[in-house]
């Protein structure tokens, strides 16, 4: 029988550039232990383990099987997801399916990445087709540079707006002890940073981080017994794109991206007509400063061309009307397999009121978390304090 699913435990490691003091399993186990402790459960209570990351990033094949002692999957059910940048949110969605299907009542979901163990950008370059464009990709940076340039061309957004986004993210990250890059940055600092892949300078881009995040999911019956503060995964939408990713809209075509389709579907299904009013926080997967603005438009939070205006007006600040990434987001912390799971975890912490110094100032009942990756692939999850 289908079951409703809640997040009943959350754990994450601190995020940093390097963790030479732990191997991948030990890193993961820090998050797993924290999540179990948060849920006041032990591994005995977990029926299945879902994990996801990108194998080449650490150089390990079938690594869900390799890590069973650290993930707790030994003797249990489980399998591995891999969808690139969206894998973090996909892990949670997969966990949702595991429990919602009625086959399991509890599921441990783990997202992680240990980027200090292999050259990340080089590995990301291999997402491309070897015959067509592998020679021309520079990891994820090239795609983000193209999307950013296209956003500026389409909407008149300026680099100063991207700098505002980054400054705001840094303000948020400075309040988040688990974030990676926590320095408070001014717009001037950001504009002066060295160019990495024009038009993206160092601060317009996310860092490469090492970290892990685990969440415990439970069915309705169990969730209410485990915790007084379950966070309900009310709904989720996954939308992928073909290989060309619809980056460009040619004359006569209507612009349509996976984020746009996902936002429309999720909001329609849940009778949300004004997300900016009806949702209190959005942990968006924002791997570069420009896309945060672009995707506020694409998700339907604001109209086309309005994204940078929202940022300019302070709407997306922690104390603003529609806080975006109060954790600092992917812009300040990106361990790729972990980032999507972390978006869900951070959104859930906001709903629980447990985000400490980076808690948003408004009362949070409903939150959004998104994942991004691939050739414009999207996961969008709707989390809620209550079931109604």
């Amino acid at each position: 029988m289908p079951q409703r699913v809640a997040i009943v435990g959350i754990g994450q490691t601190r995020h940093t550039s390097r963790r030479p003091d732990v191997n991948d399993g030990e890193l993961i186990n820090e998050a797993v232990s924290a999540a179990l402790a948060d849920a006041q459960l032990t591994m005995k209570d977990i029926e299945t383990v879902i994990i996801g990351n990108m194998e080449f990033f650490e150089g390990h094949h079938l690594n869900d099987a390799m890590l069973v002692d650290y993930t707790g999957a030994r003797g249990k059910s489980g399998f591995k997801m891999n969808t690139g940048g969206t894998v973090g949110t996909m892990n949670v969605i997969s966990g949702w399916y595991n429990v919602a299907s009625g086959l399991f009542d509890t599921c441990l979901v783990i997202g992680w990445e240990k980027h200090d163990e292999a050259p990340t950008t080089s590995c990301i370059t291999t997402i491309t087709d070897p015959a067509i464009d592998r020679p021309y990709a520079v990891g994820a940076l090239s795609g983000l540079a193209i999307i950013s340039m296209n956003y500026m061309t389409r909407t008149g957004c300026k680099v100063e707006h991207a700098a505002m986004v980054r400054a705001q993210a840094s303000e948020n990250a400075s309040r988040n002890p688990n974030a990676h890059v926590r320095d408070r940055l001014s717009v001037e600092d950001i504009l002066k940073a060295r160019m990495v892949v024009y038009p993206l300078n160092l601060y317009f881009l996310c860092p490469t981080s090492v970290g892990a995040c685990a969440t415990v999911l439970a069915s309705e019956v169990k969730a209410n017994k485990i915790t007084k503060k379950p966070v309900w995964i009310k709904d989720h939408v996954t939308v992928h794109s073909d290989y060309s990713g619809a980056l460009f809209t040619f004359p006569g075509e209507t612009r349509e991206t996976s984020h746009m389709v996902a936002g429309r579907k999720l909001f329609q299904r849940n009778h949300i007509t004004k997300p900016i009013r009806e949702i209190q926080v959005f942990e968006m997967y924002d791997p570069c400063a420009f896309v945060q603005m672009s995707w506020l438009e694409d998700f339907g939070i604001c109209g086309e061309g309005e994204g940078w205006r929202l940022v300019e007006k302070g709407v997306t600040a922690r104390e603003g009307e529609f806080p975006v990434c109060p954790s600092g987001g992917v812009l300040c912390t990106n361990a790729i397999g972990d980032s999507g799971t972390l978006r869900v975890a951070e959104a859930a912490l906001q709903i629980r009121g447990d985000a400490g110094e980076h808690q948003v100032t408004r009362d949070v009942k409903t939150a959004l978390a998104s994942g991004y990756g691939g050739s414009y692939w999207t996961d969008l999850l709707l989390l809620s304090k209550t079931l109604d």
Partner: protein, 160 residues
Amino acid sequence: MQQKTTDELITQEMLLKIPYRWAAGEYVGEFLRELRHSGRIYANKCPKCGRFRCPPAPVCSRCHTRMEEREKWVEVGPRGTLLAFFVAEQSFLVPTTGDMLEIPFSVGVIWPDGAPVALWHKLEETNPDKIKVGMRVEAVFKPEEQRQANIFDILYFKTV
């Protein structure tokens, strides 16, 4: 027994070299053969929804209709309009060669004349101040005897 050095962090290192021989498939294979043989760039079209693909594809990704066969392929370029570009100013390890990327390295997304498609390729110009979205570019091919039926048969796109 030697004094234990608790500060020492043990690592294992490995250089992974995996040989791959990827099949390009009939459509991309033919696209690459044409680059080598005739110095022409081809796209194909979906007969149902009208969407183009470059390189040509067997099936439409939007409506899953069989795309047009070889006789109806459309030649595109060699000139085109620049839709977007980037210039890498930091070097990275290139996974296909094991060498470090030579910088500055600029790549454009080009709308070749003849079909609404977006083709990624190297740009000759590497100074971002001299590259503008909307500018006209043209494919420069290698001399025929040097072409190998891969994407490098086009050397780069030059500004026109």
